[in-house]
């Protein structure tokens, strides 16, 4: 009997292997040391990546989860190790990213005594997790991990935190892993109601100017082909949210562009001209809707949504079709009539042309001396592989990269959408790359954001992850500066940066690097970056005071989208 007993720490590692975890990210420390000791024995079955900060570990796990569709896993110690995960948890929570984070905790008998590196991480992380639990006994470890993985990946995905006391890690227990397949308080599947499908189909069939918005729910529900078939049958124009990008190829004839504050002109403007609005797997974020009082008031609204708490939260809808959009889209497909909406579609193309002339061409083929962010991304986009993953940070470069990158495949877009976490990109790109070394992973980042997690160049160096880092350097916290220019009388309060020599930093990490300041050198540098076998750091010095347009200013309606 004693032979079958193993340490709690081994149970943790073997449970992760049982859940098919392949790569995990973490940082050791006192209260998690037994687990790190166990990892030493299992390093062939489970690859661990040492980041340089726990925030880096969790963002890497997020990047891994977003491209792979699997549950991202990270490890941290108690106290500061655990609190450093909070930003990543909040980010994963708002962007529905499945994660299991395991934190070490002081021994059970020390709980509540302000022991060294003790913090109430279960309390602190409660609003930022889908579920969390503290495990104090060895026999509770495997069931908690099984339940955690099930919760993280089921229904609307999200982050789970499992806090395990040190005594549970060092005590011996039996290992008999039973995967969790469900429990009574957690309904993961909602059957789509046929009457709702019928009501939605009636609205769609009688619509003259129907319009579909798709979000990340389509990707999470693996409903990309259902969406495509539905659009092809109905002839409905479709626009993407930030996180929905990639769910439908941008080359598809029904694709009309991107939504939101810095999305495209037509998709925003025409939201207030459609007669039926279909929202598939998106949650009417304020960055998409602008002023809710003037949002699509003329339209009947159909919402295809898995999470009941999202229905009628921001926008009151006429028909709420609850359930997985893979099911609802395919049921809708059978219930709707085949149609074309040529003149309505032509409206989108007309406005697209207006945006092209007013914004796109000046951005990507500028006549001014300084390089624009738009032309850099445009060139990157032309040189990239078809299935390249684009990881972005937060700010102007994020919006520009999103605008000028041509998404063709699902899970090629990784960015911090809901939380807007600066510092996300570099570690997330590391995580995305570690899922597949052979895939092209491009990390576009600004000079502000990169300095929040620049230490992860160390993890990139150590793993030799061939991430292509493109730093758009304008020596400003550009998005804040743009707002200061537009809404705060150009009072540039603490947004200008005295930056280090980034290329020297990259070189110090033994990462091949190049700095471009002139247009003539840009193309070749980008080509060199993609040809290079290994990580590459490309710094491009861009115009200091470029702005991102189109733009819907805060408090404005979608129809007040500005081209300049």
């Amino acid at each position: 009997m004693k032979d079958m007993m193993i340490r709690g720490a081994d149970i943790i590692v073997r449970s992760l292997i049982a859940e098919q975890a392949e790569v995990i990210f973490g940082y050791p420390g006192g209260a998690i040391m037994p687990v790190y000791d166990a990892l030493y024995d299992y390093h062939e079955q489970l690859k661990h990546v040492l980041t340089r900060h726990e925030q880096g570990a969790i963002h890497a796990a997020q990047g891994y989860a977003r491209v792979s569709g699997k549950v991202g896993v990270c490890l941290a110690t108690s106290g500061p190790g655990a609190t450093n995960l909070i930003t990543g948890l909040a980010d994963a929570q708002i962007d529905s990213t499945p994660l299991v984070c395991i934190t070490g905790q002081v021994a059970a008998h020390l709980l509540g005594t302000d022991a060294f590196q003790e913090t109430d991480v279960v309390g602190i992380s409660m609003p930022a997790t889908k579920w969390n639990i503290q495990v104090r006994r060895v026999e509770d470890i495997a069931p908690a991990i099984a339940k955690g993985f099930f919760i993280a990946r089921s229904g609307r995905p999200g982050p789970v935190l499992i806090d395990i006391t040190k005594n549970a890690q060092t005590d011996f227990g039996e290992f008999n892993y039973v995967p969790c397949l469900g429990f009574r308080s957690f309904k993961t599947h909602v059957a789509v109601e046929p009457t709702k499908i019928q009501q939605a189909a009636e609205l769609i069939n009688s619509a003259e100017r129907p319009y579909l918005l798709f979000g990340q729910g389509v990707v999470l529900g693996k409903a990309e082909s259902e969406l495509k078939s539905f659009l092809e049958k109905t002839g409905i124009p479709a626009a993407s949210t930030l996180l929905g990008s990639g769910a439908l190829s941008q080359d598809h004839p029904n694709y009309v562009g991107k939504l939101g504050m810095h999305g495209n002109y037509a998709p925003n403007l025409l939201t207030n001209q459609c007669d039926v609005l279909i929202a598939a797997g998106m949650r009417f974020d304020d960055r998409v809707t602008g002023d809710l009082k003037r949002y699509a008031k003329q339209a009947k609204i159909i919402h295809l949504e898995l999470d009941p708490a999202e229905v009628n939260k921001n926008v009151k809808v006429d028909v709420a079709v609850m359930g997985d959009c893979r099911e609802s889209l395919s049921m809708l497909m059978d219930a709707v009539e085949g149609k074309k909406h040529n003149s309505w579609m032509a409206r989108f193309r007309e406005l697209e042309q207006a945006e092209k002339e007013a914004v796109v061409l000046p951005d990507i083929t500028p006549t001014k001396v300084g390089l624009t962010m738009g032309e850099v991304i445009h060139q990157v986009n032309q040189c990239k592989a078809d299935d390249a993953v684009l990881v972005t940070d937060v700010g102007q470069h994020q919006m520009i990269a999103w605008r000028y990158f041509n998404y063709k495949k699902p899970r090629t877009q990784v960015t911090s959408g809901g939380l807007g976490t600066m510092g996300f990109a570099l570690p997330a790109a590391l995580g995305a790359q570690l899922h597949d070394y052979s895939r092209q992973v491009i990390c576009v980042v600004g000079d502000g954001g990169i300095q929040m997690t620049i230490q992860e160049l160390g993890a990139i160096m150590q793993t030799k992850a061939p991430v292509k880092i493109v730093l758009l350097n304008n020596n400003y916290l550009g998005m804040v500066r743009q707002w200061q220019q537009m809404f705060f009388d150009k009072r540039y309060s603490f947004t200008e940066l005295d930056n280090p020599d980034f290329v020297k930093i990259a070189e110090a990490y033994n990462i091949k690097s190049q700095k471009v300041t002139d247009r003539v050198d840009l193309r070749e540098a980008i080509e060199d970056m993609f040809i290079h076998d290994g990580p590459f750091f490309l710094e491009v010095v861009v115009e200091k005071e470029d702005n991102v347009f189109p733009m819907i200013a805060t408090g404005c309606s979608v129809e007040e989208v500005r081209l300049s």
């Binding site: 279960v122 309390g123 409660m126 609003p127 889908k130 579920w131 969390n132 503290q134 919760i151 009574r184 308080s185 957690f186 999470d307 009941p308 708490a309 229905v311 009628n312 939260k313």
Partner: protein, 166 residues
């Protein structure tokens, strides 16, 4: 703004009450009263929350509560949809007991549930308006301590916990 009773049927796990209350605090909504106790089924708890808000907000709250992994079911009712009671205890010095007070106790259907050498404890079960009315009167009788529970309530609608855990 109206008074609503929110019922939460939940697994009896550590931290569940905290998860529920942060949904209110995050939106800046005050909980008027809250009671929690084991239901008639072992391992399942029943939480009754009284809140004053508009119905849209209450729907949001209930949806968010029901989204908590360990919550089995959450729903809400207006006052007309529930049968509810609150219990109040009043501590009065023995020296103030007189015929007038005895009459008040009888009129309000209150009970003396403890008599100590120094004080007596009165109990009244009813709606807040009733316990409040007695409170105001007893302030004139040297009331030295007062405690009132949150409401306990049952819905008029015929639904059972079993139907939620199927």
């Amino acid at each position: 703004m109206k008074r609503y009773t929110i019922f939460v049927i939940t697994e009896n796990f550590i931290g569940i009450l905290n998860r529920i209350t942060i949904i209110f605090t995050r939106r800046g909504i005050n909980i008027d009263a809250l009671t929690a106790s084991e239901s008639r089924i072992s391992g399942i708890h029943r939480i009754t929350i009284e809140v004053t808000a508009n119905e849209d907000t209450v729907i949001q709250l209930v949806n968010q509560i029901e989204k908590i992994i360990d919550v089995i079911k959450a729903f809400y009712h207006e006052d007309e949809g529930v049968v509810y009671q609150e219990i109040a205890l009043y501590k009065i010095p023995v020296s103030r007991l007189d015929a007038g007070l005895e009459k008040i106790i009888r009129q309000h259907n209150a009970k003396i549930i403890a008599a100590e050498p120094e004080f007596v404890v009165l109990e009244l079960t009813g709606h807040k308006e009733q316990t409040q009315e007695l409170l105001e009167i007893l302030k004139g009788y040297g009331l030295s301590e007062f405690a009132r529970s949150g409401r306990v309530a049952v819905a008029k609608r015929m639904l059972t916990i079993e139907s939620f855990i199927k």
